[in-house]
Amino acid sequence: MARLTINGKTHSFDVDPDTPLLWAIREQVGLTGTKYGCGIAQCGACTVHIDGAPVRSCVMTVGAAEGKQITTIEGLAVNGVLSKVQKAWLENDVPQCGYCQSGMIMAVTALLKDKPKPTDADIDAAITNICRCGTFQQVREAIHAAAGA
């Protein structure tokens, strides 16, 4: 029996501890905002926070995530109030297809926690998510907007 604390709530389910955290979040807990893109930590669509740090959940096991605070995209808004990153995303009309955006927003949220006023170089170093629609120009604008908010 695995126990995971996700968005402040504890979930218990019967799963092989070697199951990738991504698939436990999606299939056991039923939170599908965290996306599968590559399964090998290349694209970042599955990014969640583990104790506040960004992690690609497709390569972390359930066993390794037990006992830690896990935050997913569903946990960013509090009582329906969007986080400042989500608000900046809305105001800058960032997503196109939107599939990579959960991971992008999670990566950016972690960056801003670490560096509240990131430079372009900080953004380049920290945000390595793949977006095939190519929203990067709006992503950069929205990061600066969120940092200024």
């Binding site: 698939w23 809305l90 599939y99």
Partner: protein, 724 residues
Amino acid sequence: MNYAPKISRRSFIVSSAAVGGGLALGLNIPFGASVVRAADGSPELNAWVVIRPDDTVVIRIARSEMGQGSLTGFAQMVAEELECDWAKVTTEYPTPGQNVARKRVWGDFGTGGSRGIRTSHDYVRKGGATARVMLVQAAANEWKVPASECSVAISVITHKPSGRTTSYGKVAEAAAKLEPPKDVALKDPKDWKIIGKPLKRLDTADKLTGKQVFGADLKLPGMLNAAIKDCPVFGGKVQSYDAANASRMPGVKKVVVIDGSAVAVIADTWWHAKTALDAVDIRWDGGANTKVSSASIAEVLKEGLSAKQAFVHNQKGDAKAAIAGAAKRIEAIYAYPFQNHACMEPMNATALYTADRCEVWCPTQNGEAALAATAEASGLPVSKCDVQKVHCGGGFGRRGFTDSVRQAVLIAKQMPGTPVKLLWTREEDMLHGKYHPVMQAKLTGGLDANGNLTGLQIRLSGQSILAAVRPEAMDKGKDPFSFQGFWPAGEHSFEYTIPNVLIDHAMRNTHVPPGFWRGVNINQNAIFLECFMDELAHAAGQDALAFRRKLMAPHPKSLAVLNAVADKGGWGKPAAPGVHRGLAHFRCFGSYVAACAEISVKDGNKVKIHRIVAATDSGYAVNPAQIERQIAGSFVYGLSAVFDQECTVKDGRMEQENFHQYNSMRIAQMPKVESIVMPSGGFWGGVGEPTICVAAPAVLNAFFSATGKRIRSFPLKNHGITMV
């Protein structure tokens, strides 16, 4: 172009139910007592417009949203004529089955070829206008006044003489019972208030919170999950397999063979299905195709460059003679590789099959083709099938194909009554794409003593998409779309006026399945032409802009976009130290596009793209903010391709299986993109694809300016060149 996949007999029956003229689309619904109602009971004014009592306007969207933003553009077009409150607009997809049942009232569902808006603007605007006239008439009837005394704005109808007002929600029920007017006039574009505005997308909110359901996220009661491996050699089959171990693994329900070529595992969760599939011991029979490699394909294409027979598509004067007699003869050979779409959301489809009904949920660019595939795979008539479209996690042409729909239905058939979601791994997605076709080109130009281009010959040699996908759309064996940007006239016209021209195509098809890949054949054709124009300008000792301008003089719209990027890009003025510029222009999908790139190169191979100025004239610009996003986004797709992406064939199969072998651009490499959206009016051009093709040649021409080196085969990583 029409992206409908191969027309089977069954899908032909679907399409032959089409109503005649475009004007009737969406408007030929019953009227009078039999009001057509949406699921919640609200009345339809016509197939495009439903109005709820609370004034909410539901606009039906026939085409698919895959990130390109046209869902918002369609709503803008309907809302413009409807004169409704934009803040109260919401959208929904009708299903392909409903379209068939209603004699194709919504017209074409196909979403590709940058044609969604440009081929339906007329009838969707008429849907809005017709509904507006009926709503005003209903209010006038209630007030017993002439409709001509009533005006309308933002969903409120006002009787001017008396000052009485009512809202759309209040009169929608009565309006729906009226006979639709026969022919309503559309607004003059100068009066547009919603079309042409940089409005925000309507579909953003759920994409920020994880709430947006993509196909890969679907959950249905009692649903099982499936993972699949198709024979990695295209056209191969399953020789034998041993599922003894896999069958005993947790959650596994069934191991099945699909179409003789694929093995699928059905399990409670997808992770269980995928893990068990990895434990199935499969022996493949690749057949004769196992002998094919990238090198063997390149040889075949190389032979085509000098072959006697070729399909001619653009011929003027005598190019061969002009080049033979030229003062200076320039020749270059270019080569473009296979590439995968690599949509962020891997291919998937969910199916529920019973003996008398089959339903599919899937992200698709072509709902009607998905319906046809569902009917064909299920063996049920179209009337007993339907497809629920879900937002696509990227499409780029890949989701016009229905291979995963067919597989999902065949899998679900083995589990009657239980919905099964089939999700491909990234590896499956990379191994079973519908690849950007391979193409080589030999370009030959002749310059006279004054450096004038007197003759140009382009020989293409490579794969035809239509030959594999829509042979019925070919012209006596010729694939006209291989010549995008080279047509003598039309939406992909060649915009240089040269006295002698010969452009032909030696078709060399391979066993690799080709597909429409964002831009289709403009990606390679723009590189071939625009890099070679740069080579010719250089050989003539002329400035690349001046050389082009001279040949483009009879083409004012092309000249305008070229001049716009040259002006804003600072062409002819000093650049920052170490910064070099390159230009490119193209005409495709009815639009005119150009780019000016600024790059610097370190150590001869590390390319920093600082800025790309891009202009597009698509005639009308329904939403300039979304067009800017399409331009910048398409550059990410196109530059990733030219720098890093190639699918290579070894032993008949693709070698690349994931993003570590098929890299895609990151934010650090993103140049500043400055878009010039310059609609000149009077025509409707495409938006999603055209600009993609000018980024690569503009950067390549800047690379030559910086290094003196012409790179003529792609991707650039094969030459040790990287984007930093």
